[in-house]
């Protein structure tokens, strides 16, 4: 029975992983919607550049991304020092840094899903809304966004799952601090590195698998309900 109860260290890694992934997804969401909107609905010079920039984390090695973040936002780096001094925001060696790394690395997943969803919304509905007196922001909030909601959810779920598994960027940028930045993948890595840690690693791996399956099921259920709700 006791085998099914999580140890304090395991629970800590699990909760931290969930917290990092959730914050990463929610913080990136508004930016992802904005970027998707620009890519799906507007034409402007430099659109290809924005598209490439959004997809950069997909092709860049995570360790490189972590290194770049460290260079830019470390406590001694100009930007990192500025943020710490004026706003008290610290990313280096903190869980917020882990969330930031995860947010950036999973940003392309969110943008792609939202962009596809926005492109699938019939623009004729927006025209109808306009002729009924709805201004652009009103139309976006009451017609486009609700109809794109299933796509938003799909993007968020993918990003959340990917955030749970992020390793390279996190360990490079914010190191492997128990209770602060040691998420599940980092905990598994630590267990494997320590002598006699095989059993602990196996338990953590099982935990990760269970979490993934649970997430998939919840996402599927949520997507179905949402689609029914918006009449698709």
């Amino acid at each position: 029975m006791s085998a099914l109860v999580l140890s304090p260290a395991e629970a800590e890694a699990l909760l931290l992983s969930l917290k990092v992934a959730l914050v990463a997804v929610l913080a990136a969401l508004p930016f992802a919607v904005g970027a998707a909107l620009l890519l799906a609905r507007t034409e402007f010079p430099g659109k290809t550049l924005l598209d490439a920039l959004v997809h950069l984390p997909l092709v860049l090695p995570p360790v490189v991304m972590g290194y770049l973040l460290l260079v830019a936002l470390g406590t001694r780096a100009p930007l990192g020092a500025f943020l710490l001094e004026h706003f008290g925001i610290r990313f280096a060696f903190s869980w917020t840094g882990a969330a930031l790394a995860a947010a950036i690395l999973t940003f392309p997943f969110q943008v792609r899903a939202i962009r596809l969803a926005l492109e699938a919304v019939d623009r004729g509905l927006g025209e109808a809304a306009a002729s009924l007196g709805a201004a652009p922001l009103d139309r976006f909030l009451t017609v486009t966004l609700p109809l794109a909601a299933p796509g938003l959810l799909a993007g968020a779920v993918t990003a959340f799952a990917a955030s749970l598994g992020e390793f390279g960027a996190i360990i490079t940028f914010v190191s492997n601090i128990p209770g602060e930045t040691r998420t599940l993948p980092l905990a598994i890595y630590t267990a494997i590195q320590s002598p006699g840690g095989e059993a602990a690693a196996a338990r953590l791996a099982c935990l990760s698998i269970a979490l993934a399956l649970l997430g998939l099921a919840a996402a599927e259920l949520g997507a179905r309900r949402l689609k029914r709700l918006v009449g698709l």
Binding site: E127, A128, A130, S131, G133, A135, P136, G231
Partner: protein, 359 residues
Amino acid sequence: MSLKIAIRLARGAFSLDVDFAAPSPGVTALFGPSGSGKTSLVHCVAGLARPREGRIALGGEVFLDSEARIFVPAHARGCACVFQDARLFPHLGVDGNLRYGARRAKAPPTEEEIAGVVDLLGLRPLLARRVRGLSGGERQRVALGRALLARPRLLLLDEPLASLDAARKEEILPHLESLARGARVPMLYVSHAIDEVARLADRVVVLTAGRVTAQGSVFEVLSSLDAGEALGAQGLGGVIAARHEAIDERHALSALAFDGGRLLVPRLAQPLGSEVRIRIDARDVTLALGEPAGLSANNLLAAEIVALRRAGAGTVDVRLACGSARLVARVTSLSAERLGLAPGLGVTAIVKSVTVAGR
């Protein structure tokens, strides 16, 4: 107050160059074959497209003036649209769709007024329904109600019946007719179906390849020989406003009177005294000199020839004055020569078939 439209628009090989006025209140039909620019024109009026050159004004309010750099966006124009494909919001349900425009109206309709429109269009049984399960006819009725409840200053109808079969059309046309008769909201009605135009319109603007080729009252334009080509083979004919004068129960006939004579049609459901609009296709009128005898046709009208025009190989269109009404007869050029048809000649028009519109 009237809607004045003068715009120039080029899209690839297609160009639109129009200048006309649609009086208000009233129903102005934009008639023309597909590809003639009707929908582009409606989009310009609605503010969904922006022509590079032109001016559009409703009464004193300027929607577009390219010289003065005025462009009022669609949502601020108060021109509600009913599209061919309904465009209902799938996530809102019937009630939510109906209230979408109502909530955003400058002077939102009261609950009583909303109930009035719901009942006018027979939407009460649909209120709790989702959009997804609605039939084509139901969708268009909801779309029409949604547009009306936005309290538009101008109602734009872009082929609202084109995607429906004949039975579904009959389900909606009476509603449109009662709206047109009420004429509280000026309407711009786009259609390529002549029967709809004859039933609903006060004025007709005929559009051919992006140009206005004829315009005027529905009675004038649909019987105009010059518009014959643009109207097409089914289009040309007379439209008459007549009064339901008497009913002959024994023969199941109704008598319709107008200042050019009387017509007998199969018994009508409309009450006696009501005004009825009828259309007589040019191909359903035969001409005779003098008073012919021994005919099975019941409807003979004394008429005077106004004009003639060759319609094609071997056919001639003859425009007739019958009181203030105008009719057209399509006859062979042989008979035209044989009878010596010429302007000013008195003839008898033998009407074989009459289409009665509900109004």
